[in-house]
């Protein structure tokens, strides 16, 4: 066993131009450059990507699942943010 494990990186892949990067999984690597090539070898063996982002897992800042309800609560009661909130007579077109 190595005395110290290589750091963990999260891998995000853009499958083709025009789409955003999407989380694919993670890899271990000694440094950023190796993380990119490991991510390529692990997650794009069949041309699944045209661009890869890797980021040290410890650098990800995430919301807390236990707080999900409270955290997203401010959006829950603002139904007037949706177009369906507004009643428009059927005769009015293009709206």
């Amino acid at each position: 066993m190595s005395k110290q494990e290589w750091p963990l990186y999260e891998v995000f892949i853009r499958s083709r131009a025009g789409l955003s990067h999407r989380h694919a999984g993670s890899v271990h690597a000694a440094d950023d450059e190796m993380a990119l090539s490991n991510a390529r070898d692990t997650y794009t063996r069949r041309t699944e990507g045209v661009s890869i982002w890797v980021v040290r897992s410890e650098q990800i800042v995430a919301s807390d699942p236990a707080e999900t309800a409270a955290f997203f609560e401010p959006a829950e009661d603002k139904i007037y943010r949706h177009p369906t909130f507004y009643e428009i007579p059927d005769e009015v077109e293009n709206l």
Partner: protein, 331 residues
């Protein structure tokens, strides 16, 4: 490639620690019953977490050890085409192992811990990889039967309740079909070749048929841990259901090859629409699981040696990264 769910039974003591309230457990089960996916940082019962860690890491280890029987033929593949295909397949197995380790790590276990458990012999891996690959047709038989059985097992796992595992399985399943088809095509080529080549294919089927059926794990009657995994929707079908499905689709494939399945009691039951088969020699299965299969020691020794031989590379890469980081900080 495959998960056998080997030793989940009898180790479910964590939940008994009493830190989990009935309300928490009920709420969790309600999410599962509503087909909600559980994600890495979500609350989950300790037993669910441990079951998954065990299953996913065993599955990962199987992929990693599974490279050995096939790797055995890389330098002796009969053509450049077959060699390139086999290399790609073995590389896929490594990839599958890595997807799965990555999924298991989301549950809070480290890669080093899992690899350490494999190398120390504490962790298990699928029984099938403890059988030797004696002739070239074995490579065909593995792709066709072993990967075929793996697909049967893994397709339901794509709907597993744990998000990271199910996503890894979707990725694996997409690649697995290539493995099975190249194996069948290899068998077909041999079966259409000389009598000697066809005999090799028959020999491979004779040796791999029963071990492939054992891949689904023990009979339902003695597989004690299935019920909880089913309730948690980690497992969707029982061992016997999946095994029957595999037999039903595979026997006609063998017939097309002109090969004989090595089971004199095998017969199609018109009423049930299923094949009936002989009893499986479970003693052999348990012997292999216990470490006494034909290649257990060899497989583990080879994996340990690879780990040891690579130590200086890992350390050098670390040192290089540290040096670069220091230089960047000084600049």
């Amino acid at each position: 490639m495959y998960t056998q769910g080997l030793d989940q039974a009898g180790k479910r003591d964590a939940a008994a620690r009493g830190e989990e309230t009935a309300a928490q457990l009920d709420a969790f089960q309600a999410r599962i019953d509503a087909e909600e996916k559980i994600e890495a940082k979500d609350w989950m019962p300790e037993a669910y977490r441990r079951t998954l860690i065990r299953q996913i890491s065993q599955h990962a280890h199987s992929e990693i050890i599974g490279m050995q029987p096939e790797g055995n033929w890389l330098t002796r593949a009969p053509s450049l085409k077959r060699k390139a295909i086999l290399l790609a397949k073995v590389q896929d197995e490594a990839g599958h192992g890595l997807y799965l380790y990555s999924a298991a790590e989301t549950l809070g276990v480290s890669r080093d811990q899992m690899v350490g458990d494999l190398l120390s012999g504490k962790a298990k891996y699928s029984s099938i990889f403890n059988y030797p690959t004696l002739n070239w047709a074995d490579i065909g038989a593995i792709g066709w039967l072993v990967d075929g059985a793996a697909i049967m097992n893994q397709i339901p796992l794509c709907r597993c309740s744990y998000g990271p595992y199910s996503r890894a399985m979707v990725r694996v399943c997409k690649e697995e079909s290539f493995h099975q088809r190249q194996g069948y095509e290899l068998m077909l080529t041999l079966c259409r070749g000389t009598a000697e080549q066809k005999a090799m294919a028959q020999d491979a089927l004779n040796r791999f048929w029963w071990p492939a059926l054992m891949m689904f794990g023990p009979n339902d009657a003695i597989s004690g841990h299935s019920a909880q995994s089913m309730a948690w929707k980690i497992k969707r079908f029982s061992n016997d259901e999946l095994r029957q499905k595999f037999i039903d689709v595979t026997v006609p494939q063998a017939e097309f090859l002109g090969l004989t399945v090595p089971d004199d009691k095998l017969k199609f039951n018109e009423e049930t629409g299923h094949y009936e088969h002989s009893d499986i020699d479970w003693q052999e299965f348990f012997d292999v699981i216990a470490g006494n299969g034909p290649c257990n020691k060899q497989r583990l020794a080879k994996r340990c040696k690879a780990q040891d031989d690579g130590a200086w590379v890992r350390e050098a890469a670390r040192a290089y990264a540290d040096k670069k980081a220091a230089a960047a900080a000084a600049a």
